[in-house]
Symmetry: C2
Subunit: 200 residues, 2 copies
């Protein structure tokens, strides 16, 4: 399969901006307040843009690193296991492509309605509302919220991957902070479908 | 009021290890798997212990810094407002004392059953199940989960506060990572009462 990672990639189940993707109930005002809480600023957006090429280049390496952590822990790997008790390799491969694209999207996508809707879709795909639906798979119908939250420090620790690329310590620090804020914003949005009515 | 912050402090509503505090339904095995997911290790615990004095010394300054962020944003400050529309200063003062103690506890408390139960209690105190109950206050009955999650990058960014104290860059980095892991562990536990049945 050929695609350019920087434009519209042909990734199975990658529904960004497509019909059939969830509609986020999060208002623009909710989003603005969430960004303000995190401290997300135009400076953070600019830092992410400046280093977008690095994310494109290293996205797969990052995901491989994270997936190795998942693969090494049975309580994390089990959410990728089919009903026959074996890892669902096709599901894993499809999810991986989307995970790689997510890294690039975090660095490059503006926080508009299409982006917001797709974060709702990603959240739903971790819950019984939509897990397996996109891929016709038969893995458990959930990734528990606690693992999504507990995995954040793994995903925000990009220093080891990027420090060889960025010699400027302040630049690396700024990128690390911007990435950390962005990841938390995404996870906060993904947490919505997990949350009891009115408590999100 | 006099108390030593390092032993059992006389803080109103600080129910750590006391009867009447919630019982966490999280099993020891759940906790172990959560710690493993985060990458929490004995090395992290040792780093937190090594710098416990710094946390004791700076806990109030940290909380003041974070509370200034909250106070500057109406969508965060509103959860501390009484039914008469004014900030509930008594509630704020009591919560602040417990928040300061929480910082010290993160650095010093072992992850045992009393600790686990108190994290459940703290989580509940952010939800309609128990907000205001401890303090007899009349603020809104919720801090929405999204703000708890969005506030994490504010709380994990301790570098500016501690870098003048730790001249060793690697030591500061290790402390920052250990603190980040610990905060996510706590928030993952606090998220439990917010979560739909079976999805935590």
């Amino acid at each position: 399969m050929t695609h350019t990672k920087s434009s519209a990639p042909e990734i199975p189940g990658y529904g960004f901006g497509l019909p059939g993707t969830a509609c986020s109930p999060v208002s623009n005002e909710d989003l603005r307040q969430l960004e303000e809480t995190i401290g997300w600023s135009t400076a953070d957006e600019a830092v992410m843009w400046r280093y977008a090429g690095l994310f494109r280049e290293h996205a797969e390496q990052m995901v491989d690193t994270w997936r190795a952590v998942i693969g090494s822990q049975p309580h994390l790997a089990r959410w990728f296991v089919a009903s026959d008790g074996r890892p669902d390799e096709e599901y894993k491969a499809r999810v991986k492509q989307r995970f790689v694209q997510w890294v690039i999207d975090v660095a490059t996508r503006p926080h508009d309605r299409a982006w917001l809707n797709y974060q709702e879709e990603i959240g739903l795909r971790h819950t019984p509302a939509a897990k397996n639906r996109t891929d016709g798979s038969h893995t458990p119908t959930l990734v528990p919220l606690r693992y999504l939250l507990a995995f954040i420090p793994i995903v925000t620790n990009i220093r080891r991957i990027l420090e060889s690329e960025i010699s400027n310590g302040d630049g690396l620090r700024a990128l690390e902070l911007a990435w950390t804020k962005a990841v938390h914003l995404h996870i906060a949005l993904w947490a919505r479908p997990y949350t009891r009515d009115g408590l999100w």
